[in-house]
């Protein structure tokens, strides 16, 4: 991250609340954590998991239940995050044995397994109605304090993820993406590092899930449905996986678009589907690559002008 991106990020954090309603901007930050952490797995390690909603939803349920039991939020968030870490170890253990299509199938099926557990176990999870009646603690009751709380957690997790990506561990992830057999030959245990990458992504997704409870004071059952996993993958790819902050652009774009269209037309997923398809067919690098190319072109253009001036003189 150079200083321009950091400046942009800080401007976004400060301007956000003026541009979007409180619920939307906090949702953007929360899904920002999800998409950036998914990118660690998808973009950096090259593993496509279609089950990230599993961790998001499960953690939201755990944190919601702890809050409902009357425990403080400082207990709910760590326990829910830890819970999703443990589940990710369990699920990941079975999934990382396989790669490619089989990995997608397995994570997808696990996602639906947890969905149906939540669906059937009505006494605990509220079933189809979702988990309702959660109250926000007093100190984050106002919109401003809630936003500050979420953005502090957002920036902290961003910093942590950036540290992971730039550490030697991040390099191993990239090595596994580029050439798994070489990584094996050098002596890295590829399966183990895949599991590490999977759990890092899932743990941060879980953290985001535990925060999501606070926005609407409830956990809707859609949050664990496989369609949500599709949304998460889309947000990540929409922003572009080649860049650390790219997915964040995808999240902002996705949530803004879906909020706008859902007001205009009840069949808004149709429009989203068309946008998905166009992006996949024509702009495969996502928004961040589009921006990068644009900036490069501008630079090239200005440089050319400068050169021409130079020649004239």
């Amino acid at each position: 991250m150079n200083k321009y991106t950091i400046t942009c990020l800080i401007i976004f954090i400060f301007l956000g609340p003026f541009l979007f309603p409180n619920a939307t901007i906090t949702e953007m930050l929360i899904f920002g954590i999800v998409a950036i952490s998914t990118n660690i797995m998808l973009g950096y390690t090259g593993m496509l998991s279609f089950g990230q909603a599993l961790f998001f939803g499960t953690s939201a349920y755990i944190s919601g239940l702890i809050l409902l039991a009357g425990f403080p939020i400082f207990l709910a968030i760590p326990i829910a995050t830890l819970g999703s870490f443990l589940i990710s170890l369990f699920v990941g253990y079975f999934c990382v044995k396989r790669e490619g299509l089989y990995f997608i199938c397995l994570t997808f099926a696990f996602n639906q397994m947890f969905y149906f557990i939540a669906y059937v176990w009505t006494e605990v999870t509220g079933g189809e109605d979702g988990l309702v009646g959660i109250t926000r603690p007093e100190f984050i009751d106002t919109q401003l304090s809630f936003y500050v709380f979420i953005s502090i957690l957002f920036l902290t997790s961003l910093y942590l993820m950036y540290k992971i990506i730039t550490s030697p561990l991040g390099l191993i992830f990239k090595l596994i993406r580029e050439n798994p057999s070489r990584a094996e030959a050098i002596g890295y245990n590829v399966r183990f590092f895949k599991l590490v990458s999977f759990s890092i992504a899932s743990t941060f997704t879980g953290l985001a899930g535990s925060l999501y409870v606070l926005i609407h004071s409830m956990v809707p059952i859609d949050q664990i449905h496989w369609l949500k996993s599709g949304d998460i993958i889309f947000m990540t790819l929409f922003g572009g996986v080649g860049n650390f902050l790219g997915p964040l652009i995808g999240v902002v774009g996705y949530i803004w678009l879906s909020d706008t269209f859902s007001i205009i037309w009840a069949r808004w997923p149709l429009i989203m589907g068309v946008i998905f398809a166009i992006i996949v067919l024509y702009f495969r690098g996502g928004v961040s690559e589009l921006l990068e190319n644009l900036i490069k072109k501008c630079q090239f253009y200005f440089k050319k002008n400068k050169d021409e001036k130079y020649i004239k003189n």
């Binding site: 998808l42 496509l48 279609f50 079975f94 044995k97 396989r98 490619g100 299509l101 089989y102 997608i104 199938c105 397995l106 997808f108 099926a109 696990f110 996602n111 639906q112 397994m113 149906f116 557990i117 669906y119 059937v120 496989w226 369609l227 599709g230 993958i233 889309f234 790819l237 996986v241 069949r267 997923p269 149709l270 989203m272 589907g273 068309v274 946008i275 998905f276 398809a277 992006i279 996949v280 067919l281 495969r284």
Partner: protein
């Protein structure tokens, strides 16, 4: 009790045959084309909705069963030739996203055309009513469904083992590059495979309409089950998909007797047991 168990076994068998048909379609597409077909569920839903409309227009249920899968094949051809074909070289991420987008689009188009409310399609008079089997009385349509689906699976088996195209498809699952090297036009093979997969999905959808009714979300509900069938079967195994589909159907039937609330969870329980005790799937290699 025997009455209950027998009727649930037959119910499960019927469901299982449907799962097997959809699952084999997905297996073919996964195996030959090597893409995760997330649009498979909506093709199933389209089959049911086309059948409903055709039956309503022409008044003939048999005609609907005959024609609607063919219409689904057309949709499948369109999907393959216009979109998926450009993505064979791309990552699974983009293939998945494209097919997911197609699923969303088709799903919404179904709601726009047919409305968000579910329908029911009645079986024709000759197939409605029940048959007395001696020990139990069972709906005629479900019995015919089991026989017909079984017949279709046999046809499919003969097609795959006895014809040239079937041999090419099986070779494609084993080793795609070798098929290319042997001078076979893979583009056409891929198109036909996608068409065949779509046909099976559409047929299963049309057949399921009188039993389970039609709801716009039926495509989204069947999709995870198809993927579980593939996981239990072992990736790319066609006989595995048939066995896994029937197994899941039967276990769902059994669950209805003893744990009626867990009929959906039992599918994933089967999957969990499979990956613990036989990680490569029932018929998977390696």
């Amino acid at each position: 009790m025997t009455f209950l168990i027998l009727s649930q076994i037959l119910n499960g068998l019927g469901l299982g045959m449907l799962y097997a048909l959809v699952g084999v379609g997905l297996t073919l597409i996964l195996g030959v084309l090597n893409i995760p077909n997330f649009a498979h569920g909506v093709l199933y839903a389209l089959g049911a909705y086309f059948a409903y409309s055709i039956a309503k227009m022409t008044g003939s249920f048999y005609f609907a069963i005959l024609l609607s899968p063919l219409l689904v094949v057309l949709v499948g051809f369109l999907l393959e030739s216009q979109g998926v074909r450009r993505l064979y070289q791309a990552h699974h991420d983009y293939q998945l996203l494209f097919l997911f987008a197609c699923a969303l689009i088709i799903q919404e188009i179904i709601i726009i055309i047919w409305g968000p409310i579910g329908f029911s399609l009645l079986p024709p008079p000759s197939l409605s009513g029940a048959l007395d089997l001696g020990i139990l009385i069972y709906p005629k349509y479900r019995l015919v469904l089991i026989c017909f689906a079984f017949f279709m699976i046999i046809c499919l088996y003969l097609f795959l083992t006895k014809t040239n195209l079937g041999a090419i498809l099986r070779a494609g699952i084993e080793n795609r590059d070798m098929v290319k090297v042997l001078g076979i036009n893979v583009n056409i093979v891929f198109l036909y495979t996608f068409g065949l997969g779509a046909y099976l999905a559409g047929l299963a959808g049309a057949l399921s309409a009188p039993i389970m009714g039609l709801t716009p979300s039926m495509g989204l509900d069947i999709l995870p089950i198809c993927f579980v069938v593939v996981v239990i079967a072992g990736l790319g195994s066609i006989p595995g998909a048939i066995v896994a589909g029937i197994l899941i159907g039967l276990s769902q039937g059994a669950a209805t007797i003893w744990f009626p609330e867990a009929t959906n969870v039992v599918i994933y329980l089967m999957m969990g047991l499979t990956i613990i005790f036989r990680p490569q799937g029932l018929f998977g290699v390696r």
